[in-house]
Symmetry: C2
Subunit: 324 residues, 2 copies
């Protein structure tokens, strides 16, 4: 790892997926200094396209935290242009994954460095610097982990399911290819063992698609299980619906109840000590607490920056109240 | 090869390099129908950059003949934007080779199809169609041929010499890696054997860098040597200078006289029956004719479209006069 990371001992570790995870992460950066927070992104969605390695969740974090995300689209970069995509499309090429010109530049640079043997974690660090971001975004591993969605239309990579097929196939199972052998990043390992660690936060991302690929790394799961700091999840559910994306649909297809109860029981007391659920779902609190998981009820929809910051502050405060 | 090519029996074959070659090719398209002309481009300049395969000379032909070349820059595409390059540069990536956004799209599509096992000749045909071009541009081979420039600063690939080092290193030798084993495209082989073939035209491109990589393919050289149709070169020299690029400098560095005489003797009567030289150089005609090569003297600078067309017509007329 790079020298700058050796001394990095954050007090909070946030596990984040795509858009929902990035929202809470942005709230956390408003509450915590850059030396207090480590953001761990999902790499299960990573894929190859046009010959590049694309890391959509790491990039969503990068763009959101550095203030260049496209608010209008909800993905990609602000002030983006589409010259390359339009021309590739005109030439009859693959245009189902919408890559903007400036977004593409990030994939070009990442892929060029990976080809030269550099690690995803190093490259991500340098991208953070290039975007003027002091906070550290890290992949959980420099090894390949790929979410394979098993559906009624066959197995497919995540982006094929999510973008190309717009989450339409019914999900029958999920695999996190490579996770079993993936080595946890040493910096994350150290951070989990840091005696000053005050919380591990699981952001309101899709548990199956965004968080599970991180938890599927055996060393991560092992360290999280025995972690001394409070481990807090924020549920991505509002009643039977998710903030965004196919979380509820997948719950139903996999035979789960569509609610925050499923989120809590999916993580289980092995991995979380507490969960934040929306005020809409306060009725679920007693059932969740019977699992051995503490609950905290608040408004979890983060539409504005102040709501993101307020929720992040409540997460930190909830974790403090659960100090073991 | 594709079905459409099977019946293609052009009367004229033009060997073209980059900008100079594309100028004459444009003139030839003004004189000849698309079923009369085959344009063979140089692939010795092809290289990998940002993970793509780039074929600069084929693209110069494609852009010039389809009317989308950038007149101002003298390379690349008209109305080009540079969002990707600017961002890659900002991120600290390789920006020495100036790829525009729309130009990049061509490389993305070409590389994606090569990765899927398609051939460069098929892809080039489809690109011609996508650009609304009826004329056929072909690489001489679907195998890899790479021009390696041996210099006082070491061996380097062509683009490294030409773009990155701006032709500054002194050339001590040239190699056309892969040419020895490269298989001539069957369509070009058939075209060279076509009894109705009326000329093989070597455009005013750099003989060492643009034409030699084609001639270095043994089957091409063999067929051209015994070709029944007149073989005509157009010299890229004006006195001791070339129209463009490092031709004269390389002649000097390799110990040749800097003139059209060198061009004629380099090709030799084995490969050409006649050469067109500029009026400036009419004094060279007797020396060249002593080599056994006919000369035709005219204005060879092709600044305007009408000059390109006029020179192309003179090439065709000169070839007619040399019918064997």
């Amino acid at each position: 790892m790079t020298a700058i990371l050796e001394e990095f001992r954050p007090n909070h570790i946030a596990l984040c997926g795509g858009v929902g995870g990035a929202k809470l992460a942005l709230g956390l950066t408003a509450c915590l200094d850059s030396n207090q927070l480590m953001v761990v992104g999902n790499v299960g969605d990573d894929f190859e396209h046009w010959g590049f390695q694309i890391s959509p969740d790491l990039d969503t974090l990068l763009y959101t935290l550095s203030g260049v995300s496209n608010q209008e689209l909800g993905w990609g970069r602000d002030g983006e242009t589409w010259a390359v995509l339009e021309e590739v499309s005109r030439l009859g090429g693959d245009a189902w994954f919408r890559l903007g010109d400036r977004d593409l530049a990030v994939h070009i640079e990442r892929s060029a460095r990976l080809d030269r043997g550099d690690t995803l974690s190093n490259i991500t660090q340098d991208l953070c610097k290039a975007f003027g971001l002091d906070y550290r975004i890290l992949p959980p591993t420099d090894d390949s982990v790929r979410t394979i969605v098993e559906t009624n239309m066959g197995f497919m990579e995540f982006q094929e399911y999510f973008v190309r097929n717009q989450c339409e196939p019914a999900v029958t199972g999920l695999r996190y290819e490579g996770a079993e052998k993936a080595r946890l990043l040493p910096d994350i390992h150290s951070a989990l063992l840091n005696p000053d660690l005050q919380s591990v936060i699981i952001s309101p991302s899709n548990p199956f698609l965004s968080i599970a690929p991180i938890l599927a790394i055996p060393e991560f799961q092992h360290q999280l299980t025995k972690c001394r700091a409070p481990r807090i999840a924020v549920s991505p559910m509002l009643g039977a619906k998710a903030f965004k994306g196919p979380t509820a649909k997948i719950m139903r297809e996999l035979g789960y109840e569509m609610s925050s109860f499923t989120v809590a029981s999916y993580y289980s007391p092995n991995l979380i000590d507490g969960i934040i659920i929306d005020t809409t779902d306060s009725v679920l609190a007693p059932r969740i607490e019977k699992l051995g998981i503490q609950t905290y009820v608040t408004d979890t929809l983060m539409n504005s920056f102040s709501e993101k910051k307020r929720l992040a502050a409540e997460v930190i405060q909830f974790a403090e109240s659960l100090q073991k």
